[in-house]
Symmetry: C2
Subunit: 419 residues, 2 copies
């Protein structure tokens, strides 16, 4: 049994059970995994009352502890959110299974036939904060890609997470998936996170889902590889060649559609030669955005003076910084200095300029004539996402099933030796 008093032993025990489950999951056909997910979705729907009752306890405790409105909103479940969670699980069950896909193959001159085939990563740890839906979303993405998941949610969502996890586990049992396919760490003690981060060999990959301080702690401490999602200090550059209606539409959407998501624009860069800059800034202000401008834009109506820290700030709010730049080269230089390699966009009619931007900006996602708010696994056709990776290794940008796999080399010979 897991011993919550000794986090290292507890995680080692959970890790052993996860490894065992992972070996089984790795060999399951797509249909068996999909059946397990559909059964879990059905159990989630059936457990709506239990889940909402558990969530009510968490909400009451959160209110008593004085959690902020944004945090309470992330914590809150209601019937549509539970239904959405179940629908999300069903959607993942219908995604193409990456496991077993052949990436490439070659026959060597000596007759050895080599192929690279996708296989699960193994045991994936997810460390997250207040959103209880992550328990279902992340758990089933891991399982559909053939991995066992170890989930460690935040203390404020503990009852909600347990109720959701119980429904998943019941669904997996209904369909014959391993009981330990998704385990929820039974304690919300911070030491359990430390033990997970140190569990090199037991856990193959840690994915933090949460705010900056969580991700920073995970990156600072982890001995296990981390797929991290850092800031989205995203830019939209409006080139002199941009259509003014399109520019206003893209910029307002990029900033204001949802201001609290990582794909939202934080800095607007306007080509000094763009003739409609004043109207563009006015459109953004009219949409309710507070604007902090550089020396060249601060004279415009509704623009306050930006401080040096503004160019490096992820507001996650209805605030944008605005600067004039010297064409696409000026924009790329600004982004290279201040960007976070997440998502950056250009609005331009000139295709050659746009292609220079797409090639030259070193971000996980670069967009031409489209809103940065498309930075999302669903919008990219991945069906779901476990996060948007801002590192450079393994997977970059929206990560869904394929990013939760690795590959092996398979060689089929007829007795070949090196000799």
């Amino acid at each position: 049994m897991a011993d919550a008093d000794n986090p290292t032993e507890m995680i080692a025990d959970i890790g052993r059970r996860a490894r065992h489950a992972a070996r089984t999951l790795a060999g399951l056909p797509t249909a068996a995994k999909a059946a397990g997910l559909r059964a879990a979705a059905a159990r989630l729907r059936g457990a709506e009352g239990d889940i909402l009752a558990a969530n009510a306890r968490d909400m009451a405790a959160g209110e008593a502890r004085g959690l902020g409105a944004a945090l309470l909103d992330r914590l809150r479940l209601d019937p549509p959110r539970v239904a959405g969670m179940a629908a999300g699980v069903d959607a993942v069950a219908g995604l193409p299974d990456p496991v077993g896909q052949t990436i490439d193959r070659v026959e060597r001159p000596n007759g050895l036939r080599l192929s690279r085939v996708r296989v699960p990563i193994g045991v994936i740890g997810i460390v997250y904060e207040s959103r209880p839906n992550v328990t279902a979303d992340a758990g089933v993405l891991c399982v559909m890609a053939g991995n066992a998941a170890i989930l460690r949610g935040g203390s404020e969502a503990v009852h909600s997470n347990r109720a959701i996890h119980a429904a998943l586990a019941a669904g997996f049992a209904d369909a014959g998936l391993p009981a330990d396919a998704v385990q929820l760490v039974p304690t919300t003690d911070r030491a359990a996170v430390g033990a997970m981060l140190a569990a090199d060999g037991a856990i193959d990959l840690i994915i933090p889902r949460g705010g900056k301080s969580l991700v920073a702690r995970v990156q600072a401490e982890a001995r296990v590889p981390v797929l991290a999602h850092l800031d989205g200090i995203n830019h939209v550059y409006v080139d002199a060649s941009a259509d003014p209606d399109m520019a206003a539409r893209v910029v307002v959407d990029a900033k204001m559609r949802r201001t609290g998501i990582c794909g939202s624009m934080e800095t607007l860069l306007i080509d000094r030669a763009y003739p409609h800059g004043r109207a563009l800034v006015a459109a953004l202000a009219a949409a309710g955005c507070e604007i902090r401008g550089d020396a060249a834009t601060v004279s415009l109506a509704g623009v306050a003076a930006a401080g040096p820290e503004d160019w490096d700030t992820e507001y996650l709010d209805a605030i944008a910084s605005v600067a004039l730049v010297d064409g696409v080269d000026g924009a790329m230089a600004h982004i290279a200095r201040h960007g976070s390699h997440h998502t950056d966009a250009i609005v331009a009619a000139d295709a050659a300029i746009a292609e220079r931007f797409l090639a030259g900006v070193d971000s996980a996602i670069v967009l031409w004539n489209a809103s940065t708010q498309f930075a999302d696994g669903g919008e990219f056709g991945l069906g779901a996402e476990i996060g948007i990776a801002t590192g450079r290794l393994h997977a970059r940008g929206p990560v869904a099933l394929e990013g939760l796999t690795t590959y092996k080399w398979i060689g089929r010979g007829t007795g070949q030796v090196r000799g």
Copy 2:
């Protein structure tokens, strides 16, 4: 200037120059990179005298310090080795360039056209030991994939490395590549390695090339992602259905062709139902291999008793452990317990059994009817290798140019917004 007295500042300075070079390299066409490599190969040939003189200094110092014969052999350069190094650089110049390749593309229902395109990783640190050829091999692989390299070689090869690096740099200059495309850390102080491992943000990836203690130190200390190459505790399983001549040929090659490489077999697993086990063990012994057997094989001629540690030992020598197992399931259970996820092979005529092994053994490379000594980038058609990755993230097995790249998502729209 780099300040060798302050390793953190020195690596920060080297890292800034590497980042600058990486930005230039990322935008270069294939032909420009290839021309740089060919010029470097020409300079290596032209500098043969300088390189051999520098190597003679290292060899004299190594002998004076009492380095072992194996280490001295790794350190030694001679005209054929210098010619081989230059030929290797030319070969990398001729490899297909992964940068700019489109991995996949999709047009979304809203008309947004998305593609994933390979791009360089950025700045790669290589930490290695006594083989001076790594200076050329690893440096040019990084550059051909569009990355800047920071090389930190061992103190015993310091003069050889400097001479080789000078030739590379001269060749790059001849062809107009950035001077900082490949930098050699000017000190062999161990603190420089620590500074590299801590240089998160300045260095994107660390690749250790060397023995267990080096790799272990890198993995224990690194705050930068690591592409590690750990033990090769490789198995050959000989099934009851195996052709006896093929089995003997593959097993002897897997163990004895070269015993000191990571792809060599360390443990032979023989199906209890295989009728030719005695002859197989005799063939291995006749090839000069010391054999340590389990209870069932220790009675055979020339077999000593294995201790419990033998099953977990990478001998890298003319020694093998041998055990009888109960069919392919017994073999897979043994490998799951003792293997290092590097390279494992089955010899079998029964295709169904072989496919179970290929699917069920969780190693970077799994082979059917072929020697484990094929675990090599050249043999896999990659043209070269920077190592054989035994981790599960990013790249697995032999890593060459593609493994030194990542990707970005490029989206081309017509004014799409999420709305």
